[in-house]
């Protein structure tokens, strides 16, 4: 078909919960959009690292000759040039989540917001805790994304008098979340709050707290909006009272916007910041997707 429009979608592989959700949403959006628009062909490729993703971008151009690219960069800086190379072929560029160092490359920017996520988590902590209270932090993998969240959180918590006892990497992994929390519990007799920053970690943390029988002493703030956690929030779980959204569905939004560029008449540009709102018992309903794997 002459007027077949090819859209490449380049995302990281499903190596942990959040990315799994993102992959799922991308696949669902592909099915939906291809069914609705017969002249649209979407090609999703997944990468294991920045270099791998740069290769994927090359392949999308050289093999598939895409007209548009939706990309969630593994890391901003290394992928800026490869994305520019795609843009130079004349393709329409939608960047998701992690901005490029040179925003002029992109036509559309759809994003969650790591900084906001850190800040919102800290703000919630401040509403529950005060001077002299102790929290521990479980971080993801040492990457840019994690560092952004962490720095924003630390910035926002400063001056509140809340004590950060320690922070350790839990690799966005339930098992590591469980073990690191076990060790925090063994080490600190007084913990009032836990920032787990990711819902996979949260699940492990919760089990460790339950094992130690210290559910009544503290609460946990997760992140991302995993369905199990959102459900818990909805049901008024005291241990995990809130979650901070970091929506894996943003990839679907980005794909929608990109398809729109081709099927609607008006030009599509600009930024779509989805934000990282606090999920509470009141608003949890609207963030609950029981069919999503995440």
């Amino acid at each position: 078909a002459q007027d077949q429009i090819k859209i490449g979608v380049s995302i990281p592989a499903a190596t942990h919960g959040f990315m799994g959700g993102l992959n799922w949403h991308a696949a669902e959006a592909e099915k939906r959009l291809e069914a609705a628009n017969p002249n649209i062909d979407i090609i999703i490729v997944t990468a294991d690292g920045p270099a791998d993703q740069a290769s994927d971008l090359e392949d999308l151009v050289s093999v598939h000759q895409i007209q548009a690219l939706v990309v969630l960069p593994f890391e901003s800086e290394p992928l800026t040039e490869p994305v520019r190379a795609v843009a130079d072929t004349g393709a329409f560029i939608t960047v998701v989540d992690r901005g490029l160092t040179d925003p002029s490359i992109q036509d559309v920017y759809v994003s969650g917001n790591n900084t906001e996520m850190g800040v919102n988590s800290a703000e919630y902590m401040k509403t529950r805790l005060g001077e002299g209270d102790n929290i521990v932090i479980l971080r993801g993998i040492p990457t840019v994304l994690d560092t952004e969240r962490f720095d924003a959180f630390m910035g926002a918590i400063e001056g509140s008098g809340i004590n950060v006892l320690d922070n350790k990497f839990a690799n966005w992994n339930r098992d590591d979340g469980f073990e690191v929390m076990q060790d925090f519990l063994a080490r600190f007799p007084d913990i009032d709050g836990v920032w787990a920053q990711d819902d996979d970690i949260t699940l492990g943390v919760v089990e460790a707290i339950k094992q130690a029988g210290r559910e009544s002493e503290m609460f946990v703030v997760g992140g991302a909006g995993m369905k199990e956690i959102v459900k818990g929030v909805m049901d008024g779980d005291a241990l995990v009272p809130v979650d901070v959204l970091y929506p894996p569905a943003q990839i679907a939004t980005a794909m929608d916007v990109t398809v729109n560029h081709f099927i609607s008449n008006g030009p599509v540009t600009g930024s779509y910041i989805l934000g990282s709102p606090l999920i509470t018992q009141e608003n949890a309903e609207q963030f609950y997707f029981p069919d999503s794997p995440f």
Partner: protein, 339 residues
């Protein structure tokens, strides 16, 4: 020391065994001292229990790996295999809960399914290695990718979670204790003892050593080399299955992140324990201590704040190398003195 020198030269049987595990044991003791001095909470009953329980997963898998490596093979697929088995167990148990309600039978079905998968997966590795004559490294690199992909696929990129009915019944397998020792630790002890007996007191263990040390001699000595080799992979699969059975009730879930890098940890435990990567020589006792050392390092890093988080990996690396150096070193001095 001068006494021990004599004994090393003309060893009495029982004593020699003690000496061999002495190296890794020494490293473990030093590590415990380090941990305690960094944070006395290290030796709290709760923390010790945690370490023991955690080391059970890697430890059980590493016992299996000791046989594979002793017979001159290697298995890179264990971590993915664990994730895969856990995933299928959960799917099957959820299905069972759906069709006949949650009961002890649900768990037993899951366990049965795990054992079958473990043995089957091990057999496939063994079969491809011995019959298709592909290097174990390549075979298990391949199955490693395959199992991990399959679990990701089954979980649709996300997480497979055990239905809460089954979870409640299954939970005690990880969280309960017997005589104040957690069940996973009992399983570990049990596997270690069986493994030790198999390795040191049965024909099978002797055959593994013979094959790893010289395959030709083994063949000329009427040993069914292919069969024994395959058996080591099956045994490894069985160990992975057992580890998974105690792993699943812990968090009740499996995803593509389950068991990542367990293969490296298991192999490291085996080698820290004094087994040689080239085969021909296996020490179950050392492997157990190796698993404890690895777990203790992780725990110690979580108990202290003196080093940047970013350097965890570096500290871990330094300690592993130092631990092995210590034990090999202490062996060397003993040997020198003996001469």
């Amino acid at each position: 020391m001068s006494v021990s020198t004599h004994e090393a030269a003309k060893p009495v049987k029982g004593l020699r065994i003690d000496f061999k595990t002495l190296g890794p044991l020494l490293a473990l003791v030093l590590l415990v001292i380090l941990g305690y001095s960094l944070n006395p909470a290290f030796l709290n009953e709760g923390n010790v229990t945690n370490i023991l329980t955690r080391s059970a997963f890697i430890g059980i898998i590493a016992v299996g790996a000791t046989f594979v490596i002793t017979a001159g093979g290697i298995d890179l697929s264990v971590g993915s295999m664990a994730a895969f088995i856990a995933g299928v167990m959960i799917i099957v148990m959820n299905w069972a809960v759906g069709s006949m309600g949650a009961s002890i039978w649900t768990v037993l079905i899951g366990v049965g399914c795990s054992l079958i998968l473990g043995v089957g997966a091990g057999f496939i590795n063994g079969f491809l290695t011995t019959k298709a004559k592909i290097e174990a490294f390549i075979v298990t690199l391949g199955t490693m990718g395959i199992y991990r992909s399959l679990v990701t696929y089954f979980a649709d990129g996300g997480t497979l979670s055990l239905a809460s009915g089954a979870r409640d019944i299954y939970r005690p397998v990880y969280y309960d204790s017997f005589l104040r020792i957690p069940i996973p630790v009992w399983v570990f002890i049990f596997v270690a003892i069986i493994g030790w007996v198999l390795m040191n007191r049965t024909a099978f263990g002797r055959y593994c050593m013979a094959i790893g040390s010289n395959e030709h001699v083994a063949r000329y000595s009427a040993i069914k080399v292919d069969r024994v080799r395959t058996a080591t992979f099956v045994l490894q699969g069985l160990c992975v299955s057992l580890a998974t059975i105690i792993y699943v009730p812990r968090l009740g879930s499996a995803s593509s992140a389950t068991g990542v890098l367990w293969e490296l940890e298991a192999i490291a435990a085996v080698i820290i324990g004094g087994t040689m990567l080239k085969g021909g020589f296996g020490r179950i006792g050392g492997t157990v201590i190796g698993a404890l050392i690895l777990t203790a390092i992780g725990n110690i890093l979580n108990l202290t704040e003196i080093i940047s988080n970013y350097l965890n990996g570096a500290v871990q690396g330094v300690i592993i190398v130092a631990a092995v150096y210590l034990q090999r070193g202490s062996l060397r001095t003993r040997r020198k003195k003996a001469e």
